[in-house]
């Protein structure tokens, strides 16, 4: 079960990781080996087996539609890398 360098780059883009060339090389090898190991799940014929949706047999857990206190602004921005006024600032999206 090998994974190609191109696939690694594609996955890195999906995962939002700017990998260095070295990292891409290393991950291509490591992921290949790991996928080989975990790929044994393919040897089971499981067409009739339902996937586990949840480890706990519980349904209908919800909260009532009653407002709670929101965070004070000091807390909202306590860890913010970049704040402008009462907004979070990020570089342009395009």
């Amino acid at each position: 079960m090998a994974i190609s360098r191109d696939e690694v780059l594609h996955v890195a883009r999906l995962a939002r990781l700017a990998l260095t060339e070295d990292e891409v090389d290393r991950l291509t090898t490591e992921l290949g080996a790991i996928l080989e190991a975990v790929g044994v799940v393919a040897e089971l014929d499981l067409v009739d087996v339902p996937p586990t949706e949840h480890p706990l047999d519980v349904v209908n857990v919800w909260g009532e539609d009653e407002p709670h206190e929101s965070l004070p602004l000091d807390d909202v921005f306590a860890n913010a890398p970049a704040r402008e006024g009462d907004l979070f600032r990020v570089p342009p999206t395009v």
Binding site: H10, R13, L14, R16, E53, H54, L56, V58, V59, N60, V61, W62, G63, E64, D65, E66, P67, H68, S70, L71, L73, V76, F77, E84, G85, D86, L87, F88, R89, V90, P91, P92, T93, V94
Partner: protein
């Protein structure tokens, strides 16, 4: 053009007007200070976990029932991953392959009989936060210097409704949306105001040779924020696609953004990479399995659907008038006004035109007083009628002072005015005599103007007609 048939499906997002957000108990509402309605959950802080809003689930089921859907006994929230700063967790929680409501249909009364619009699904999800792009030449995303994020809107509950590609014209899309909007408003689950973004519609549009069953490549029109724009956008896109096919070209799968400022559809820049949402069941939540009693209770709370009411009124008022009354939320007032003695068509016209034109809240109007005004409409001066209508919503309004005023019906008083008007508009007179009957209203209007609205328009109309046919 007639050789081609438009095939349109809609995806509609509706903001539910719950008090709190979908997965946290931050309050929902406009006007609060930026980022003041946020908490660890809707900011996506490490370790925060979602908790489903029970009311949002119940309202979604209710809407599903109103749309004739099957309510699934087992619905599951999933994570939909895509990268954008307005999505604090990096994924949106949304029902995916197991939505709450499936397989519904809406009857849309139409000129050529009932049309059935299929509802593929209605599911619950959370909205993204608001991003403001700052700086740059145009102030639009492409040229922005940076962006600012307000998470107040992030995590508010949305229902997404997906129709089957059953819609066959721009007008039909518009009428369907108006009916849907009214259905939602009457359920009391959303204000569904498009201007405020509480109801947003995207359209999937393709065309095919009329009479065929094929489905050709479709394009997606996004972010259209009014019924008129939706109809216009679809119409333009249908025309464009027909042009492409007829000139031997091929329609490409594309997404267009509607720009409210220019009123134009512009193609979105193609992404380098196709979307890959990597859906999987949200492990932080458990399935929703609404008990049958709950579904039945909600079914029992449904009001008579607006589509059925349009059909009921159609015999008396015609499709157009009854649609306007019902989708405008005016039919109850109309019914009461008619019950109070008003002539049905007159009452419909007054409510749909004069009352709405004056911006009066129909909920505050006394049907009895309105009925008296409708009845006296031709008898009292137009100016008095208009003023009375504009005050109908005021508490304790009485039609009495207006009903004592009489419109001028005296022929000897009116005839000199009419003569003056006809003399001043010889071209129109000639055209009328040549068969343009529609100009009658023009003459009447001129006379009304000359008399400052005091003339009885019905009498004027009779006199003008007599004079010109002489």
């Amino acid at each position: 053009m007639s050789a081609w048939e438009p095939v349109v499906g809609l995806e509609i997002h509706v903001h539910l007007k719950t008090r709190t957000k979908m997965f946290c108990r931050c309050p929902v509402g406009f006007g609060a200070g930026e980022n003041t309605q946020t908490c660890p959950v809707c900011l996506g802080l490490p370790g925060a976990l979602p908790v489903i809003n029970r009311r949002a689930v119940e309202w979604t089921i209710k809407l599903g029932l109103a749309l004739g859907c099957e309510i699934r006994g087992h619905a599951v929230f999933a994570r939909k991953h895509y990268p954008y700063p307005d999505l604090p967790k990096g994924y949106q929680i949304s029902q995916y392959d197991l939505p709450s409501c499936v397989d519904g249909k809406v009857i849309l009364p139409s000129a050529d009989g009932d049309r059935e619009i299929g509802i593929v699904r209605a599911h619950l999800e959370e909205d993204a936060a608001k991003t403001v792009h700052v700086g740059g030449r145009t102030g639009r995303i492409g040229g922005a210097d940076y962006s600012l994020i307000d998470f107040n809107r992030g995590g508010t509950p949305l229902v997404e409704i997906v129709t089957a590609p059953d819609i066959r014209s721009a007008d039909e899309a518009k009428r369907f949306l108006q009916l849907l909007r009214q259905t939602i408003v009457e359920l009391g689950i959303s204000d569904a105001e498009m201007e405020k973004g509480a109801l947003r519609a995207d359209a999937n549009v393709s065309v095919r040779p009329a009479g065929s069953n094929e489905l050709r490549t479709r394009t997606e029109l996004k972010n259209m924020n009014s019924f008129t724009f939706i109809a216009r956008g679809i119409e333009a896109e249908v025309e464009r696609q027909v042009g492409v096919w007829e000139s031997g070209g091929e329609v490409r799968q594309e997404t267009y953004d509607f720009d409210a400022a220019s009123g134009k559809l512009t193609p979105r820049r193609a992404k380098e990479e196709a979307d890959d949402y990597r859906y999987f069941p949200e492990p932080d939540l458990v399935p929703v399995e609404p008990p049958a009693e709950l579904v039945e209770r909600l079914r029992g709370e449904l009001p008579e659907p607006p589509g059925a009411r349009i059909e009921r009124l159609e015999g008396t008022l015609g499709l157009e008038r009854s649609s306007v009354l019902v989708t405008g939320g005016l039919d109850r007032l109309w019914e009461e006004t008619v019950a109070a003695g008003a002539e049905p068509v007159q009452a419909a016209n007054v409510i749909a035109n004069a009352l709405m034109g004056a911006g009066v809240d129909p909920g505050s109007v006394s049907a009895t007083e309105l009925a008296r005004l409708v009845d006296a409409r031709d008898r009292i001066p137009r100016a008095a009628f208009d003023e009375a209508v504009s005050k109908l919503g005021e508490p304790g309004f009485s039609a009495d002072p207006y009903l004592t005023q009489e419109a001028v019906s005296d022929e000897s008083e009116l005839e000199p005015v009419i003569a003056r008007v006809l003399e001043a508009n010889p071209g129109e007179v000639e055209a009328y005599r040549g068969g343009k009957d529609g100009l009658l209203g023009f003459f009447v209007g001129q006379v009304m103007k000359e008399t400052q609205g005091k003339a009885n328009p019905r009498v004027v109309s009779e006199l003008v007609k007599a004079k010109l046919s002489a």
